[in-house]
Subunit: 342 residues, 2 copies
Amino acid sequence: MTKRGIKDVAQRAGVAVGTVSRVLNEHPSVNADVRARVKAVIAELGYRPDPFARSMRSKVSRLIGIVIPDLTNPFFAELVQCAERAAADHSHNVIFMSSFDDAVKEADRLAQLAGRKVDGIIIVPCNSPHSIKAPKGLPLITVDRLLADHPGVAADNRGGARIAVDYLAKLGHRRIACIAGPAGSRPAEDRLQGYLDVMTTLPQGRAKIEPLFVNAAFDYESGRAAGAFLLARPRDERPTAIFASSDQQAIGCLRAANDLGIPIPAGLSVVGFDGIPLSNLITPRLTTIVQPMAQIAEAAISSLLGRRDMPEVGKPDLFQCELAIRESSAAPLLEPTAVAAR
Amino acid sequence: MTKRGIKDVAQRAGVAVGTVSRVLNEHPSVNADVRARVKAVIAELGYRPDPFARSMRSKVSRLIGIVIPDLTNPFFAELVQCAERAAADHSHNVIFMSSFDDAVKEADRLAQLAGRKVDGIIIVPCNSPHSIKAPKGLPLITVDRLLADHPGVAADNRGGARIAVDYLAKLGHRRIACIAGPAGSRPAEDRLQGYLDVMTTLPQGRAKIEPLFVNAAFDYESGRAAGAFLLARPRDERPTAIFASSDQQAIGCLRAANDLGIPIPAGLSVVGFDGIPLSNLITPRLTTIVQPMAQIAEAAISSLLGRRDMPEVGKPDLFQCELAIRESSAAPLLEPTAVAAR
DNA sequence: TTGAAAGCGCTAACAT
DNA sequence: ATGTTAGCGCTTTCAA
């Protein structure tokens, strides 16, 4: 099978190259029979338009760039996977790049993507306090870690946290602690806020209800340490439930409880956040707030491609989270209210 | 900053476009001073050659395609991350695609990459018994899951397994069990073989030494189940050490031990395989065989780009693994030899 | 060593 | 509705 160009197709079909091009681009003004004939020839010849020649003229690359801080984070890995699927659904391919959470590398990657003339960029900005210089004229959308001066889509972190804490409260828990994320992280702060929202509106019984939280990085080990800290207090002051700001933290916290011989969920309920695949694979399976990653990724891609309104700057599109009740949570052993009444 | 083309550079530098092109491509026959002047102008104008125009003529895209079954697997995520870094080191970008372990999708992705005229393809084939139709004329290399009819690079799985079991044996363990990977998986079989290699050469003491292994998927839950199975036997027949074929399995196995109240490493040593980041974040930190992912990825990229010989078909390049001794392993409580001698 | 010019394969503007 | 043609921005002969 030798090299086929648009000319060969045109010649074989007895039409001009322009017509073939129109067929290729689904241009309306082509007679049905001509279109059919051309398509037949295309199939017959196994012709595939050269994407470079195409992009050079049309300024459309059918390429989406995605820049994330670290693929080792399962949450980002899932995002990338979902984004690729969404892009494929729209006949686009994905150029993947990692910024290693380094603002300099991030800027470089962005410039490269601009050079590649990608049709849009999805970015999870790195954590250093900075903003991004979006190549102008190139649609860019932030995901998860929102930036004030760029459009963004994310989970409704605050709302999700409320759902989690609300659930624990309804189960009867009152001493609910929170492993908050790292200070300065937007998602972390939103989740903490959601926790506080619920805690401050809980009906005050005989036992005083006070929010109790500790900041920690989003990873497993930090979660374990934070959990150990929260659980290292006299039994009657010890939290009966912990809301962690990430699944990794929650899993670490499970470990801390285990180290102290606290049974799950009998002695302690733990709820995570994110809904990473691992959360449903461990024992006990983790009750968690699952982010609608597929929806988030789909929204980001659609917005970039103009098939959907771009979120306004300052008004990110937020997607509702869902509570997945699994094995790490249950009603507390002793109803604190009952105890207080005795 | 308006649109800059090669013409602007040529004009500003007082040379012909051809000369600028030669400078751009490091062509030798350009006077040093001319080259310097042109480079200065390029920098001054912030000129960036259009990759499409470039590729259209040169048939080189500076793009590498990578197809993996599932990014949710932390091992593959690390591979992708390493590959992207290696590609970036060679001024290439990476088009990422997921096959979702589906041979049909895989073939489709491959065709797309061929259409994109990528300079090479890295693929972790999906598990179904099949082979891959590599677009001819396009360098393709398999990683991890090797295929008999394509060049490949991977860790020396058999050697790595030997190191692990050898280490356990030297520690004094004799009842060493193995959580093998899924049957049919090439890496799984190689690792099991390594385990058997060592077990069959262990000096037979008074206590009979027999290999004991059970197949399981590579994930956490399968590892937990397999661990529970292996540990559910009378104490004096129970393995004192378990070699798992993946870190995820090992972590699941740790959990199984924990459920049975077996202390780690006092009551049981566990060694994993892969060296995923999580392995060093959990408690206890997991002793494991770490694959040189960066090296493997670098080798794959270099081979594709012709900066290094492509591995021969049937003779994959194998990279030595390293033992990372951490907290999940130790000498057995009672030296079996001593016991036998008593 | 350098310049001039011919395309690469396609799209889009213009002509019919 | 279809044909014709001028480039897109670059690389690469071919001359000089």
